[in-house]
Amino acid sequence: MMMNSHGCRRGALPRLGLGLGLAAACGLAWAGTVWAAEAEAPPAPGGLGALAAAEGVPVVVTATASSSPADSGASLVEQYREGGGVGRQSSRTHVVLFWFGAAAALLGAIAVIVARRPMRSALGLLVVVLATAGLYLLLRAELLAALQVLIYAGAVVVLLVFVITFLDQGAVTAPGGRRLPVRVLAVAAIVYVLYLAAHELFAMGLGSRIPPAADFGSTASVGHALFTTFVIPFEAISALLLTAIVGAVAVAKGRADGTPTTAGGALSGAGESKGTPAAGHDEGGE
């Protein structure tokens, strides 16, 4: 299929659409399964939600107490290492779903970086994004999982796909190609540092088994934190999004520069549609 790409240029678009749809459907189905499994599985080994909530309260209190500046660093890492010892932490479904999601994410990531055509990379990125969304559900970050699907899959990847089709299979090469020795060196450095990181991180252990509070990661509690503790960053990011909107419009809208004679509404009309969707997705971002 890759060989005679020139021959079947006409059929390429529907096929890509099909692939996109399939990938999205698979990812969503998987994420849905994860969600269902998590919803079924009791949040804490105790069983009933009420019991879990009752258990959760003292846990949170002890955790807060232990995180006072006096002793938190040591105890935190030790917590990760030794685990709190409240019994088996992950159900069998959790384990199976994790390995499935991890495999999907890794395969997607490999696809992103080895694909010859950017469209396939975008598909790989879509798989990674959806797999990560599922993993977020496993980690009890439901709001984040939903926003990952909405913003990443729904806006960023779609925007990428849109631009790739616009750019005729993405002929834009990055300026200033790095020389080969530099690249080899950079890859070696990256792999070495991250190998070290992986080594140390794996030694972190399975993590504390203190069950989180019953409403940990629920939309209500995350939203509450977002608008109380984190209200200043929340305000600050509006400046960032505004900057991105203004900047994207300033860069991509029309080409009305240069001599005043070429400056006109007719020219910039076509370009307007490039700048504005970018801005629109941004607003969705918040």
């Binding site: 002793d71 935190l76 990055a174 200033g176 972190m204 600050a236 400046a239 860069v251």
Partner: protein, 535 residues
């Protein structure tokens, strides 16, 4: 009066963001005027007046914010003397956005840099036909991002500030969208900058994992615990990734590849903006992160795995490579790009000294640290003024859709425009570090402190490379003063009051700072105590 305190402490930030919003709403409301027909002088005049008003408004906003920072600084000092609780009360109401005196000083530097950039931008943008309202708007937003960075007390706000600043700057680099060079420079800068941001973010994630907190002071406390498990290799890796990410932003040497291309391709006022505002903000956050999250006594500050040794390597490479690569440039913008890389190396010396202080008495150690960081702030002020002034001359010499960027273009400038040439002379002399200018005292303080702290190899390399650098700066001066113009096709300054005003102000302050350095240095040193005592 709680709300009053919060609003007061946030005044500079509110001022810049409010000004940016007003400017944007105003431009959106009245819409873009039709391009004036070739012969329509009245319409042309109206367009120009609007552009001038726009830029004057933005400059006024920045000046107001700078004045507000100065006022708050005085208020904070008085309050600190009368009642130490007052300032902390103000600060606690704006948790996350600390209005401490260090941040106030950095606000003032950023606003001054923004003003100098806007002053020189007017004629340049007009000559190139890209005088669009987004330019002052993006400058305001990027300065706002820099202010977030200066004030950030946690990693989250730091990341947001850094991205606001960077996204604004990427767009300013690509601002001349009919120029292939400008857009290519923007793409390169964008890709490497985002790569650096991703590295920084990963480092932040690791630090969060080890300490369970995003607050810098909490991270510092947890990491400097005396228990044996406090030293975590994961924390060390996170710290290294954060330092690498910041080194990209200040263009320290192994991570400087984007600098010459981005500086050369960008419109000249944007180049000045990158050299001045972006660098100042990045150094401000670098000081805060390194000295608050990895303070003295933390195993991550001193050798062997600490940031001090890492930065020492960067600083040596930066000074040597920046200066020697500068020797070989014919393009003035590239030359000044390497100059800005080299200056980053000198500034790093100050940061390293603050991390390498050895003293048994905590008060004494704190004083030495404050001296070092105060010297860094002083250097940043001197560097901002001189660099912005030098770029302003280049901006003003742009004419008829072409820029004067070769050294040859500057030949005979002294004859054509003695005023501009004099301003250029003062700024370049300050960059070299010749005595009556601010740059001399900046370098003197840094090198002196390095020797005092026992880091004489750094000071030695600094002095030697400064001497080498004098050669390429002198080439510029020779071109301006001693060579006659060979052709007609040379840089002719566009007649503009604003640009001349900017250059005059920069040169004047450079000299004033050189004559009265102690005053500014003491302001800087006092402010740094707020950073060191951050809770």
């Amino acid at each position: 009066m709680r709300w009053f305190n919060s609003v007061t402490a946030l005044f500079p930030i509110l001022c810049v963001s409010g000004g940016a919003l007003l400017l944007m709403l105003f431009e959106a409301a009245i819409g873009r005027p039709a391009a004036p027909a070739p012969g329509d002088l009245e319409a042309l005049y109206r367009t120009r007046v609007r552009a001038a008003l726009r830029s004057a408004f933005a400059i006024g906003v920045l000046a107001l914010a700078a004045a507000g920072s100065a006022g708050l600084w005085l208020l904070a000092r008085r309050a600190g003397q009368l009642d130490p609780g007052f300032l902390s009360q103000i600060v606690s109401h704006t948790a996350g956005l600390g209005g401490d005196r260090f941040a106030l000083v950095v606000y003032a530097i950023l606003c001054a840099g923004g003003i100098l950039v806007l002053l020189q931008a007017g004629s340049y943008l007009r000559e190139l036909g890209i005088d669009r309202p987004e330019f002052p708007l993006l400058v305001l937003f990027a300065v706002l991002g820099g202010m977030f960075l200066a004030a950030a007390r946690d990693l989250l706000l730091m990341f947001i500030g850094l991205e606001t600043l960077s996204l604004g700057t990427y767009c300013l680099v690509a601002f001349q969208r009919s120029s292939l060079k400008s857009t290519e420079a923007a793409l390169k800068y964008f890709l490497l900058g985002s790569f650096a941001a991703a590295i920084l973010l990963f480092g932040m994630a690791l630090l969060y994992g080890v300490t369970g907190s995003l607050e810098l002071s909490r991270i510092g406390k947890v990491l400097s615990l005396a228990s044996p498990t406090a030293f975590e290799p994961v924390a060390a890796i996170g710290m290294a990734l954060v330092v690498v990410g910041l080194a990209f932003k200040v263009s320290a040497v192994p991570f400087h590849m984007w600098t010459p291309d981005a500086y050369e391709g960008a419109p000249t006022p944007t180049t000045a903006f990158m050299a001045v505002v972006v660098k100042t903000a990045a150094f401000a956050i670098m000081m805060r992160v390194l000295l608050v999250a990895f303070p003295l006594g933390s195993p991550l500050s001193s050798a062997p795995a600490g940031w001090v040794s890492l930065l020492t390597g960067f600083a040596l490479l930066t000074m040597v490579l920046g200066n020697f690569a500068g020797l070989m440039q014919d393009n003035v913008k590239r030359l000044l790009a390497y100059s800005s890389i080299a200056h980053a190396g000198y500034i790093l010396i100050g940061v390293i000294v603050a991390g390498a202080v050895r003293s048994a008495v905590p008060r004494e150690a704190e004083r030495l640290q404050a001296d070092a960081l105060g010297a860094v702030l002083f250097y940043l002020v001197a560097y901002t003024l001189a660099t912005a002034g030098a770029f302003a001359v280049l901006s003003i010499c742009a004419r008829d859709h072409r820029e004067s960027t070769k050294v040859v273009d500057l030949h005979g400038l002294a004859v054509r425009s003695p005023g501009l040439a004099a301003g250029f002379l003062v700024c370049v002399l300050s960059l070299v570090g010749i005595p009556p200018t601010a740059g001399f005292f900046g370098k003197l303080y840094l090198f002196k402190l390095a020797v005092q702290a026992g880091l004489w190899p750094l000071a030695l390399v600094g002095v030697l490379t400064s001497v080498a650098a004098a050669y390429y700066y002198l080439r510029l001066i020779v071109a301006v003063y001693m060579r006659p113009a060979e052709t007609e096709d040379v840089a002719v300054p566009a007649p503009t009051t604003r640009g001349r005003l900017g250059i005059a102000a920069a040169a004047l302050f450079v000299v004033a700072l050189g004559l009265l350095p102690a005053r500014v240095l003491s302001v800087a040193t006092q402010s740094v105590f707020d950073l060191l005592r951050m809770q």
